[in-house]
């Protein structure tokens, strides 16, 4: 079976709650069959609204949502056949784990034997066999979360929506659940639309990430590209750590531009600047700047160490560089690591291709 690249399609979708402010603006988004797509963004960016429109709990103010080629705007939630995992699990507190999982099958009038088989299969998928007769309140947070995932999958929906499902878990559990959900997705090949504001979660799990801000998708690409090649300064800022320089384009050619800062000039990679005189924000990942670089780099500067913070696997160094005291360096810890001392001067270098000149902040 060939995969449908437009299995879920948001077509020019607008959404407003009060008729004055658009929460989602002209959303154009295609989700392929079997894909794990994450909607990532700060709170209030419209990502949960998109999910609720897809689930059928909110109606688009304008535009259509298509599921497998069919317009679903007029189909009520219970007929859409979309599984959903809620933020606070939304397990039915008065039903046992078995009854919770059997609920979607019972309302579909599935035979009793068939229900038993499917519930058993779903529970083994989240390795919770033997918990059938427990009440949700008798389970730990992680177990409840797994029951919620199993319940959303037990009736073999075409699409599963997850609304910040790991938000209430502690850090270690959250990480192991990320892998678990990723593996479940890989093994059964269901289409997953995942909403989160946690960028590391998004990077770990997704095939593609849609970064939302201000009701718009800022960038839609796979995790590596999103991190390495942010297309605007919001994405660069939101995903990972980032050193920024604000300046003005002094000179530009095909793959290089000269950016004039307050009292110096740097070379950068022109991404969203077109002509001389434009204002720009240059973004540079902390790990792309090297100390005492051996090979020739086209940006070489000297900065003063302001602060050294030991982080176990790496050391963060805050520098005063080019008039800004917020320049961050990440230095991997190794035995050959040079001694970094506060208020010493060090040489820093980076390639202009890693310094992305984006839209001004």
């Amino acid at each position: 079976m060939s995969k449908n690249p437009e299995f879920v399609k948001f077509d020019k979708v607008d959404k407003s709650y009060d008729g004055k402010v658009l929460v989602v603006k002209d959303l154009q988004l295609d989700i392929a069959e079997g894909e794990f797509i994450t909607m990532l963004g700060p709170s209030g960016s419209g990502k949960t609204t998109c999910l609720m429109m897809l689930a059928g709990f909110e109606t688009p103010t304008n535009g259509e949502i298509l599921l497998d080629g069919n317009i679903i705007s007029n189909i009520p939630p219970h007929k859409r056949g979309i599984g959903m995992v809620f933020q606070n699990y939304a397990l039915f507190p008065h039903m046992t784990v078995y009854e919770n999982l059997a609920f979607p099958l019972r309302v579909r009038k599935v035979e009793k034997d068939e229900i038993d088989k499917k519930v058993d299969k779903a529970l083994s998928m989240v390795s919770l066999n033997g918990f059938e007769s427990r009440m949700p309140a008798q389970l730990s947070g992680g177990q409840q979360q797994r029951v919620a995932v199993a319940r959303a999958l037990v009736f073999d929906p075409a699409v599963v929506l997850m609304d910040e499902p790991l938000g209430a878990l502690d850090k270690n559990l959250r990480e192991s659940m990320q892998y678990e959900i990723k593996h479940i997705h890989e093994s059964i090949g269901v289409t997953v639309v995942y909403v989160t504001h946690d960028q590391s979660e998004a990077l770990t799990m997704s095939n593609r990430i849609a970064v939302f801000n201000d009701g718009k998708v800022q960038q839609l690409s796979d995790p590596a590209e999103l991190y390495e090649k942010p297309v605007n300064s919001f994405v660069a800022e939101f995903i990972g750590e980032n050193n920024t320089f604000n300046g003005e384009v002094a000179d530009i050619d095909k793959d290089k531009c000269k950016v004039k800062l307050a009292n110096s000039e740097i070379l950068a990679n022109p991404i969203s600047v077109k002509s001389k005189g434009e204002k720009t924000t240059v973004s540079l990942r902390p790990e792309r700047a090297l100390i005492n670089p051996t090979d020739k780099m086209d940006n070489m500067f000297t900065g003063k160490i302001e602060e050294v913070i030991y982080h176990g696997d790496h050391t963060r160094v805050r520098l005063n560089l080019l008039g800004s005291s917020e320049f961050i360096l990440k230095v991997p810890n190794s035995t050959s690591n040079l001694e970094l001392k506060v208020s010493e001067d060090i040489n820093i270098g980076w390639n202009s291709v890693d310094a992305r000149a984006l839209d001004p902040k």
Partner: protein
């Protein structure tokens, strides 16, 4: 596991439990002192009056105190044949003592309730004692029988013996339209005089239907309150609570204005042509009035517990139910409704218990067919002054409520109640 059974000691070698008790003692005393005033208040205003009510309702000591010698002699009498000389003598001396204290009249009246004709029988004995016609040196039995032939009838002596115990359940039987027959068995009163049983049933019926109406009207209101945005729900909440801020009497009186035959509701019915002007329905001074007014007054007691429970139900549960394929009705019935049962239980119990003892409203708008058992209790408190009967009925009402509470506990479980 021997370590589990072994007593655990603190580092100073004192058993842990002892040490814990010592450490907690001060807090416990503090906590007790804090609730002590309330406890005292409850004992004085609640436990003592109920105890007093109970003793009053079963009290029958009057005759017991009046005829001490008689009852002492009667202990050996089998009650089947005419009592022996000693009993007659005992009664004679008791009665003589009463005559001297001028309390003989009360005895005659009280015994007359037990057996008709006693009043005249004792009065004749009184006259003979006054005129000192009884010779105490010869058989008193024969002389008394000579004074009045009734003394020769065993029923009269049986009637006296029945009054011997200092306590009686007669008032309770009366509350259920029953009485002690002359032979001591329990009998029903004549069918046309059974007023109390009708009242009990009517009280239960009205309380049940008022609870039902309150539930049917309160559930959607509470749901709306719990789901509306704050600014609307506050306004609605004030509307629900508004009756609380108005005097009960004023509210009942306004229902009288609305419901009477020339009242606003009837005028409206006539205006829209629902009823003819000369056949306006009676909506007051009958059950309809009681239902309408009581439902309105007790509605907040249903809405508030329901609201407090519904407020805690996450809206995502209904959404989950729908997204899993349940129709809105299935999601409501299988997910939402079962979660509101604690609130339903609390609301229904509250309304039912309040309704079963309601007094003012039925008294004002109930008329003859809409009054409840409390109105009967008030009647005996104020009109007939039969306080022991009123106490007995009050206690029957109380125990009825306790029985309902017990049944409810068996069915739903009291720990499932949520009042707020």
């Amino acid at each position: 596991m021997s370590s589990e059974t072994k007593q655990i000691l603190t580092t100073d070698g004192i058993p842990l439990e002892v040490s814990l008790k010592k450490a907690e003692k001060k807090n416990k005393i503090k906590a007790f002192l804090l609730v002590a005033p309330l406890l005292l208040f409850l004992v004085i205003t609640y436990v003592l009056p109920i105890g007093e009510m109970f003793s009053r309702s079963i009290d029958d000591k009057m005759i017991t105190n009046m005829l001490p010698k008689t009852f002492k002699e009667m202990e050996t009498w089998d009650g089947k044949e005419l009592p022996p000389e000693e009993v007659f003598a005992g009664f004679y001396y008791d009665y003589k003592a009463l005559v001297e204290k001028q309390e003989h009249g009360k005895l005659g009246q009280r015994l007359n309730k037990e057996k008709n004709g006693f009043n005249s029988t004792t009065k004749r004995l009184f006259r003979n004692i006054k005129r000192k016609k009884i010779d105490e040196s010869i058989s008193i039995k024969e002389q008394m029988i000579k004074v009045h032939p009734n003394w020769n009838k065993v029923e009269y002596w049986q009637a006296i013996k029945r009054t011997a115990p200092p306590y009686t359940l007669a008032k309770y039987l009366k509350g259920m339209d029953m009485y002690y027959a002359p032979d001591g068995s329990v009998a029903q009163v004549d069918e046309d005089r059974r007023i109390h049983r009708i009242l009990w049933l009517r009280t239960l019926e009205i309380a049940f239907f008022v609870t039902l109406f309150c539930f049917l009207m309160g559930y959607p209101i509470a749901h709306l309150l719990a789901t509306l945005p704050m600014k609307y729900s506050n306004l609605l909440m004030i509307c629900v609570l508004l009756p609380f801020w108005t005097s009960l009497l004023v509210r009942t009186a306004s229902w009288m204005i609305l419901l009477q035959q020339q009242g606003i509701v009837n005028d409206f019915f006539v205006m829209i042509g629902l009823v003819a002007d000369d056949s306006r329905p009676e909506m007051m001074y009958n059950k309809v009035g009681t239902y309408v007014a009581m439902t309105q007054i007790l509605l907040p007691f249903m809405v508030l517990p329901l609201y407090s429970v519904m407020k805690t139900i996450s809206p995502s549960l209904m959404r989950a139910g729908k997204s899993l394929g349940g129709t809105p009705f299935v999601a409501f019935w299988k997910v939402y409704f079962p979660l509101t049962i604690p609130g339903i239980g609390a609301g229904c119990l509250l309304v039912f218990i309040l309704a079963i003892g309601y007094y003012i409203t039925p008294a004002l708008v109930g008329g003859a067919s809409g009054t409840l058992i409390s109105n009967q209790i008030a009647f005996h408190m104020k009109q007939t002054l039969d306080w022991s009967f009123a106490s007995a009925m009050g206690l029957m009402l109380l125990s009825g409520v306790l029985v309902i509470y017990w049944i409810y506990n068996k069915l739903v479980g009291v720990d499932n109640i949520k009042l707020g």
